[in-house]
């Protein structure tokens, strides 16, 4: 998802008997659905994994502003410009809510951002794809936010209190994001000319598979899932989330009058789910490793903002120190 490959450091689950008394009490709390709060005792692995997961999630929100920014300055009318800016700004806000939750675990935002900039910590692979047409603003809202929401809705029940509360707030605010995107596409399909309709289909063709990749590798290739599920920092497996997303998205796709670039996509009466083709995992890992079309550009933009802003932040600190001195003297 927004945090796709989070290492828990545990390849096997401990049984309750193998745990220390503190750890057992902790696990029993989680099993009883009691939220873990910042000052509660927690295993180091839980804390570290959460910091990684929440920071990746936050980084994704911040980097995720960039593909949309690419069209914000070209939004075609007042209504769309306002909606898109509000959405982008929400994403910045959601990044900040998440950093704020992360900092309750004793992590430092600046340090975690530095890890992003050095490439040590990732953000969602989806934001390494370019936004090439206005229709992409629709597709990103509909498919990318749609995929994110599927994950975030279940994360509202995550075991860590501040993370769960951030998710609840984010889900409440994001409800308009996906509608905003779908409406862009729907308007183009219903009222647009042939060129605009082709733009929509082309956009879906480009974003369909990358959106499915957002849920991460197959469960069979996710050695960290068991531990994350036991800690309830993940509430559904990658494959289950992906299936849920596809099942709810295909009818919307059909309503648009568009198709998915997947010949194997069809309803399976027996399973009660849609079947779909195999994801190109080589592409997924290539993008994760930094070889997507926009990886370098995205990181360069973020690094530059922070580097070029350093004199501004220093000035603000210097001014604050001077004011404090003045007030003390007065």
């Amino acid at each position: 998802m927004y945090a796709q490959l989070v290492d828990t450091g545990a390849k096997r689950l401990k049984t309750l008997e193998e745990m220390s008394p503190e750890e057992r009490a902790f696990q029993e709390k989680i099993d009883a659905d009691i939220k873990i709060e910042p000052k509660n005792w927690m295993p180091e692995g839980y804390r570290r994994t959460l910091i990684r997961q929440i920071s990746q999630h936050a980084h994704s929100e911040i980097v995720g502003m960039l593909p949309e920014k690419n069209w914000l300055t070209r939004a075609p009318n007042f209504k769309r410009k306002l909606q898109l800016l509000a959405k982008i700004q929400d994403e910045g806000g959601h990044g900040l809510y998440l950093y704020s939750a992360m900092e309750t675990l004793g992590a430092d935002r600046d340090e975690e951002v530095a890890k992003l900039h050095s490439g040590e910590v990732k953000y969602s692979s989806i934001f390494n794809y370019p936004a090439l047409s206005w229709a992409d603003m629709g597709t990103i809202g509909w498919l990318v936010d749609g995929a994110a929401i599927v994950n975030q809705v279940v994360l509202q029940r995550t075991s860590y209190g501040p993370y769960s509360r951030a998710m609840i707030r984010i889900c409440k605010e994001e409800s308009f994001h996906q509608r905003q995107g779908y409406q862009i596409l729907l308007d183009m399909m219903r009222n647009g000319n042939e060129e605009q309709k082709a733009m929509v289909q082309d956009s879906i063709n480009r974003f369909w598979w990358p959106a499915l990749m957002m849920f991460g590798p197959h469960d069979s290739d996710s050695p960290n899932t068991a531990q994350s599920m036991a800690w309830k920092i993940k509430r559904m497996t990658n494959d289950d989330l992906r299936q849920r997303f596809i099942d709810q998205t295909v009818p919307q796709l059909e309503y648009l009058g568009c198709t998915a670039p997947d010949p194997d996509l069809k309803w399976n009466e027996e399973r009660g789910h849609y079947d779909f083709g195999e994801i190109d995992w080589k592409e997924f890992y290539d993008v994760v490793k930094g070889n997507g079309p926009c990886n370098r550009d995205r990181l360069r933009t973020r690094r530059k903002a922070i580097e070029e802003g350093s004199w501004v932040r220093e000035a603000a600190s210097a001014y604050a120190a001077k004011q404090k001195q003045k007030n003390a003297a007065a």
Binding site: A75, N77, F78, I88, D187, A316, Y319
Partner: protein
């Protein structure tokens, strides 16, 4: 020129300045010196786009020529644009951005305060709503002028240079033409001299607090925006902003 023509022209000036500055702020997404600042810039841009839409909707109704606010914003050429030269200037560094913002906010604040007393009810409504937003914009940009001016040596130098550089575009805000005079006489728009005095007095106070020197008021000032004579920067800004409506004439989005 009759009063309606003057008013139409005046509304374009108000709307265009808001829109062009908002477009400049949109360019800054992903580039702010802190994430918190990203949020602030977004809020200001949202307010300005909203205000631009209100002014241009009124302009479109007044013109009654089948053009919408969107048509006015997204299909007029640079020679038809009426925004202040000040707001079309590049973002530059953060000091440049804030110098431009502060000079504008200060003018905007006093202008909307005056327009809230206009004899035109529609203008009063738009101005009163905008004034609440701009009061906050002004406080924020004023604080940045002080932080950067009285921050570090480096920031002080950058802030001073930014003010000095943009200064030449500040003057035209107060140079009245036929439109301004006609509307001032009708009690619709404020007298620009009175506006300038308030602006100048507030500016001096803030710059002093920021340990910055105020450039001379009688310096040479660039003019022309009221006649659609812009700097070269506006054309690129509009080319980007108007790309879709111009590439797909008549298409709906």
């Amino acid at each position: 020129m009759n009063q309606n023509q003057a008013l139409f022209e005046y509304l374009l000036r108000l709307g265009d300045s808001d829109m062009v500055l908002a477009q400049r702020l949109c360019e800054l997404v992903g580039k702010a010196p802190a994430l918190e600042e990203e949020m602030a810039i977004g809020n200001v841009a949202l307010d300005l786009i909203g205000q631009a839409r209100s002014w241009l909707e009124y302009a479109a109704e007044l013109e009654d020529a089948g053009r919408s606010a969107d048509d006015l914003a997204f299909t007029r050429d640079e020679r038809a644009y009426r925004n202040l030269l000040l707001v079309e200037q590049d973002n530059g560094n953060f000091a440049d951005t804030m110098a431009r913002q502060f000079l504008f906010d200060l003018w905007h604040y006093h202008l909307l305060s005056a327009l809230s007393q206009s004899s035109d009810e529609r203008i009063v409504a738009i101005a009163a709503k905008g004034l609440k937003e701009v009061t906050y914009h002004l406080r924020r940009s004023g604080n940045w002028i002080k932080r950067l001016g009285d921050g570090t040596e480096e920031s002080h130098a950058k802030m001073q240079e930014a003010i000095d550089e943009i200064w030449t575009y500040a003057g035209e805000m107060f140079i009245a033409d036929e439109v301004d005079s006609l509307l001032a006489d009708a009690g619709i728009a404020p007298d620009l001299n009175a506006l300038q005095q308030k602006w100048q007095s507030d500016l001096t106070t803030t710059l002093e607090e920021a340990t910055l020197a105020c450039p001379p008021m009688d310096a040479f000032m660039q003019t022309g925006s009221k006649q659609g004579m812009h700097t070269e920067q506006l054309g690129y800004l509009l080319a980007e902003m108007q790309f879709l409506p111009r590439s797909f004439p008549g298409a709906s989005w």
